[in-house]
């Protein structure tokens, strides 16, 4: 067990406690394993990586068969069983269901009763949605097969979320907490060697002796941890996911190093370096989690505003009008249609009651309440009402509706199956601002036709 921990500890800084616990539980295959262990913690806390290395070390050092699988891949029980049997080294056997699976494992017992089995299942919360017997069987697999076997379940949820009516047997839970700032710093600084190598390699490729010299001189662990301190001061509030931070840190380090390599800034002059890096860091902060990789040379940051989006969206002319019509249909009540779209709709009598009602509903504007559903007939009627020119009701026009649905600008609310009898209801899924810009492009004032703004 000590050997195990010694091998793993340098790989996983700040996880010594968890490794020790795991080692105590399943570190020795000659001792009896617990039936099941539940590892949980947020994403990026090292559950999968830790378990993977741990199992690999176990396999290397002891007589243990291991299986690692991801529950998402197992869209049917059969595939899961096959994967487990495969990984445990029983390719020939096939098992159709849980019963056969248990039988297969049992038969193993007769052959080699002393070896251990470790099965790790990632994204274990998916097991809840599989066949009802899967999770209970896995939790009691040791008991059922009478092997020295342990099932490790990895998930982001606490185990309380698994309880169901039939109840589950007890399980040992192990929580991997989120790293605090100091720990994050320590983990990120383990990258130092690699980053250094990478940078040196890059300079060597460019064959710039001066830069290479500076690079060799400036790149010290202190320098790097200084950088990481700056980096975390910006990012730690927004993101605690270590892999994400590691990725961004590496991306930004190149920019941080640039002035040093040029020789314009001394590598000890932290404040000037900070002034230099603050802008790019803030820009990177808006891009975090997006994982958009820009090819070299194109560094302009994408403008995510609605206006840009609406202008860049290429829709055919009638497609735009259909979208506007859909928005109007979604955000006006059908009662108001006559008033809005028919030329001589008659005079509306102003009664005290309606005035009061409207005043009260000021905060309940239909544009803020969200879209209501409408039928295709109504959509077309409004479309024809707002369009000045006369257009035939052709296939091309009708197929535009389905195009808009495909683009997720409209969505079916109900009756997707029976479009033919006219009971299908649609909904417009774009916002007011977006439609206002679309309207501006085609020269149509959308506000004028919205009840809320009358």
């Amino acid at each position: 067990m000590e050997k195990l921990c010694a091998a793993l500890n340098p790989q996983f800084p700040c996880r010594e406690a968890a490794i020790t616990t795991l080692g105590e539980l399943i570190g020795d295959c000659n001792e009896a394993y617990p039936p099941a262990i539940y590892l949980f913690g947020h994403s990026g806390t090292g559950k999968t990586a830790l378990t993977k290395s741990f199992l690999q070390q176990c396999q290397k050092q002891q007589n243990v068969h291991i299986a690692q699988l991801n529950a998402i891949e197992c869209y049917s029980t059969k595939i899961m069983i096959e994967n487990v049997l495969d990984a445990l080294g029983m390719q020939q056997q096939t098992a159709e269901n849980m019963l056969e699976f248990v039988e297969q494992l049992r038969s193993w017992h007769e052959r080699d009763p002393r070896c251990g089995f470790l099965i790790a299942i990632d994204n274990a919360e998916r097991l809840r949605d599989m066949d009802a017997n899967v999770l209970p069987v896995l939790l009691r697999l040791q008991q059922l097969t009478s092997l020295n076997l342990c099932v490790l379940l990895l998930s982001q949820l606490p185990f309380e979320k698994y309880y169901n009516k039939t109840g589950l047997s007890e399980i040992i839970t192990l929580h991997l907490g989120q790293y605090n700032k100091a720990e994050t710093l320590r983990i990120l600084s383990t990258d130092f060697d690699q980053v250094r190598q990478q940078l040196l390699l890059l300079q060597q490729q460019q064959q710039d002796a001066q830069r290479l010299a500076i690079c060799e001189k400036a790149l010290t662990p202190d320098f790097y941890s200084n950088y990481l301190n700056l980096f975390l001061s910006v990012f730690y509030k927004a993101c605690r996911d270590v892999p994400e931070l590691r990725l961004t840190a590496r991306k930004c380090f190149g920019i941080y190093m640039d002035p040093v390599l040029d020789g314009s800034v001394e590598c000890t002059d932290v404040s000037r370096l900070w002034r230099h890096i603050a802008g790019p860091l803030r820009a990177a902060l808006t891009q975090i989690y997006m994982r958009i990789e820009k090819p070299l040379g194109e560094t302009e940051i994408e403008d995510q505003s609605v206006r840009k989006l609406a202008q860049s969206l290429e829709l055919p002319y009638y497609g735009k009008y259909l979208l506007i019509a859909a928005f109007l249909a979604s955000h006006n009540s059908a009662k108001q249609d006559k008033r809005l779209f028919v030329k001589n709709h008659g005079k509306q009598r102003k009664r005290m009651q309606t005035v009061n009602a409207r005043a009260k509903n000021a905060e309940k504007m239909s544009t803020t309440l969200g879209p209501k559903s409408f039928s295709i007939d109504r959509l077309l009627a409004i479309f024809y009402a707002i369009l000045d020119e006369k257009v035939g009701l052709t296939c091309n026009l009708l197929s535009q509706i389905s195009t808009l649905v495909h683009l997720k600008l409209l969505g079916f609310v109900s009756g997707e199956q029976n479009i033919m009898d006219g009971s299908a209801k649609l909904q417009c899924t774009v916002g007011l601002e977006f439609v206002l810009y679309i309207g501006k492009v085609v020269g149509f004032n959308v506000r004028q036709y919205l009840c809320d703004f009358m």
């Binding site: 994403s43 994400e244 989690y289 009898d421």
Partner: protein, 733 residues
């Protein structure tokens, strides 16, 4: 082949029996061979042997190859980038395996291709990508459509199946043992066996050696149509497998990147490494296509302004589908040539000369019947020659080459002048005549352009320009026209003749432009005659209007006279050159279609109504016509109608029921409807046995009625109401 005689109008598909057997026998016949076989079996010998068919196929194949070439050129850059990305991605994964960092291996390289909203069009683009990758032997590709991926299971299965099975036939590997391996794989594989495990072992078998590493590319051409949860799981699976299998994901995004971000939550998007590629937007693609192919002087076939506008209208207003546009254009082409063998003359000049000899009497008659033939005959003032042209085929055939030559030359000159004109008026403020070549083309062909107010506005703007601006503009226009001449026109047959005419014009323009440049801004008291004449005419017309307006006019006139008196040398030179452009280029060459030389119908397709009827489906209108006036389709004697709303008992029951239901409101009482139906039927029969039928409804009539109503319901016009008994709801308005 069975004859297609049927009462209903429709589209008949004849499956070409050869395709299936061809697949089984691995003979490597060329595609073109198959195609020609297919078309010949469809049309029959009697059509394909005609000269017009030969002319058509030649013209179309030229056009098509040009279009394909253009499209590959314009997509080349994005495609190249994508291919690089994919191969790079494959390599990167290979490297990633070596490095110890587990986190990097689980990240799936992903390319997002912003394609534009017409999704079906872009399938072709992805096909080209697939082909390219297969040629490079860099990757195995699987195109996964959303319709195959309703569930995660289906998605994974079809992905594995496509990667292993479907494409192995397409890529013939050189290594024999490899192929054997694959054959064995294929025999074993059933759909339900397509799991990732299978894929893993297949990959290890076939590409296990490090030297043969290939990326596995999964293309999702219609990203928006995917079920979000399926897609998330699918990406998670791929990224989990990334360490073992070098997957590369390509997403075809129709709207914008926000769609990707809103579909994929963080725990999924953290597993991918996204690179965005932008393809050419569809309208740009269309403009390029129009400028380079349809408006190229290379082809004898032209679309009339209206037809041209019609096709671009479908594109811009309805669907943004370039493929659809090309098909529409092809339809016009077919329609044009199918009109008769006389239209076989619509080729280049030398070939047309050969074809003139083959013309039969009927073909010559077709030519005589062309609308533009009449003005030609009328302008001949020799009586004998008129008779000869109208009756003697040989005489006309002798005359034809000159006529055709005039026509062809006219279109070339038109095109050259259009080039000049586009440069001249295309970038004026607010673009009154349109800024693109296609808009100007339509404008010039449709109406005499000099009479349009927009044209006058343009001319006014040109005359208000500063000297530097104006001369720069005109010289740029001259330069671009010259370039156009030397690059596109001269290599063509008759090109020299056209270029000669055009160069002469340009030369005189240059001298005039020189005058403009040399002219000073000094005032000169003399007014030029041409402008004063042009101005005087509209003023004379306007004298008769109301008094206040009259006053205004007179004031205007006075101010104009003032201006004319104080006209500068520069202004005069400017007017001169503008007049010259107008008379020698615009009026001479940019003539509308009705003023085109005789026999231009042979080259210009303008039968827009047929095309509209045939390529724009209007199912609602067609159904209405069929039910409202069955005579239109049935051509029977019994139900001819004088008036659209007339009800005749001899019409089919369905039609009667339909017409009755048109008179109702939203809810239809079935009993009233039946009564009306009965009375319509009875009106047709003899009135004598009216009395006994009053109380009792004939069961036969009732049965017919029920059946007709059921048919109407089947067609989707009504629905039986659940709220009100014995009522039907109308579903149309």
């Amino acid at each position: 082949m069975d004859p297609t005689i049927s009462v209903s109008k429709g589209c008949f598909v004849f499956k070409n029996g050869a395709t299936r057997s061809n697949k089984k026998t691995p003979t490597k016949r060329k595609r073109s061979g198959q195609e020609s076989e297919a078309t010949s079996s469809l049309l029959g010998k009697e059509v394909t042997s005609q000269p017009f068919y030969a002319a058509y196929t030649e013209c179309w194949s030229q056009l098509q190859s040009h279009i394909v070439q253009l499209q590959t050129e314009s997509n080349a850059r994005t495609l190249q980038q994508l291919v690089e990305f994919v191969t790079e991605g494959g390599e990167r994964v290979g490297v990633g395996e070596c490095s110890r960092f587990a986190t990097t291996t689980e990240i799936l390289p992903t390319a997002a291709l912003l394609t534009g909203i017409n999704q079906p069009d872009h399938l072709k683009q992805f096909e080209t990508l697939t082909q390219r990758l297969h040629e490079l032997q860099a990757a195995r590709v699987c195109v996964l459509q959303s319709r195959d991926c309703a569930t995660l299971k289906a998605a994974v299965e079809s992905m594995v199946y496509n990667l292993i099975e479907a494409l192995s036939a397409g890529t013939a590997d050189t290594q024999l043992d490899d192929e054997d391996e694959r054959d064995r794989d294929r025999k074993r594989l059933r759909r339900s066996q397509c799991t990732l495990k299978q894929l893993n072992s297949w990959y290890a078998n076939n590409f296990g050696a490090a030297a043969m590493k290939r990326a596995l590319v999964v293309i999702l051409p219609d990203f928006e149509c995917f079920n979000a949860s399926v897609l998330q799981d699918f990406i998670l699976i791929l990224s989990a497998q990334c360490g073992r299998l070098p997957f590369v994901l390509v997403l075809g995004v129709a709207t914008a990147m926000t769609a990707v971000h809103s579909t994929l939550p963080y725990h999924v998007s953290s597993k991918i490494k996204l690179r965005v590629f932008q393809t050419q937007p569809a309208p740009t693609g269309l403009n390029e296509l129009l400028d380079k192919v349809l408006l190229s002087p290379k082809y004898a076939f032209h679309l009339s302004g209206k037809a041209f506008k019609f096709l671009t209208h479908i594109f811009l207003y309805y669907d943004f589908s370039i493929h659809g546009f090309i098909q529409g254009f092809k339809y016009c082409l077919m329609e044009h040539y199918f009109a008769g063998n006389a239209f076989a003359l619509c080729t280049n000049y030398s070939q047309a000369l050969g074809r003139i000899k083959q013309l039969t009497h009927d073909d010559v008659e077709t030519i005589r019947r062309l609308p533009s033939f009449r003005p030609y005959v009328e302008q001949i003032n020799d009586c004998k020659r008129i008779i000869a042209v109208l009756t003697d085929d040989d005489y006309l055939k002798k005359k034809l080459p000159q006529l055709l030559r005039d026509c062809l030359l006219h279109f070339m000159l038109f095109r050259c002048s259009l080039e000049f004109f586009t440069e001249l008026v295309g970038d004026l403020p607010r673009c009154p005549l349109g800024k693109l070549r296609r808009e100007l083309y339509v404008n010039c062909l449709n109406k005499p352009i000099t009479q349009q107010p927009e044209y006058k506005e343009c001319w006014q703007m040109l005359s208000f320009m500063s000297k530097d601006e104006f001369s720069a503009k005109v010289s740029k226009a001259i330069a671009s026209t010259e370039q156009f001449l030397s690059e596109q026109v001269v290599p063509l047959e008759l090109g020299e003749a056209c270029a000669d005419v055009m160069r002469k014009e340009l030369q005189s323009l240059k001298t005039l432009l020189n005058d403009v440049e040399l002219a000073t801004m000094e005032l000169q008291p003399q007014a030029s005659d041409s402008t004063s004449l042009a101005d005087a005419r509209p003023l004379a017309d306007l004298k008769q209007v109301a008094s206040r307006q009259q006053l205004k006019e007179q004031l205007l006139q006075r101010s104009k006279q003032d201006r004319q008196q104080s006209i500068s040398e520069y202004a005069r030179a400017l007017n001169k050159i503008l007049d010259h452009i107008e008379t020698h280029l615009v009026l001479a060459h940019l003539r509308p279609l009705q003023n085109a030389p005789p026999l231009h119908e042979l080259y210009v397709f303008s039968d827009i109504s047929t095309v509209r009827r045939n390529i724009i489906g209007a199912p609602r209108a067609a159904l209405h016509t069929a039910l409202n006036n069955p005579h239109f389709y049935m051509q029977c004697k019994c139900c001819e109608l004088q008036d659209q709303s007339q009800l005749v008992s001899t019409m089919p029951d369905l039609s009667v029921v339909y017409k009755l239901h048109l008179e109702c409101g939203r809810m239809i009482n079935l009993f009233d409807w039946l009564q009306a139906f009965r009375s319509v039927l009875r009106a047709g029969e003899e009135q004598d046995e009216l009395e006994p039928a009053q109380e009792q409804i004939d069961p036969q009539v009732q049965a017919r009625f029920t059946r007709a109503v059921a048919e109407l319901q089947f067609l989707g016009y009504i629905k039986m109401s659940k709220r009100k008994t014995d009522h039907a709801t109308r579903l149309t308005w």
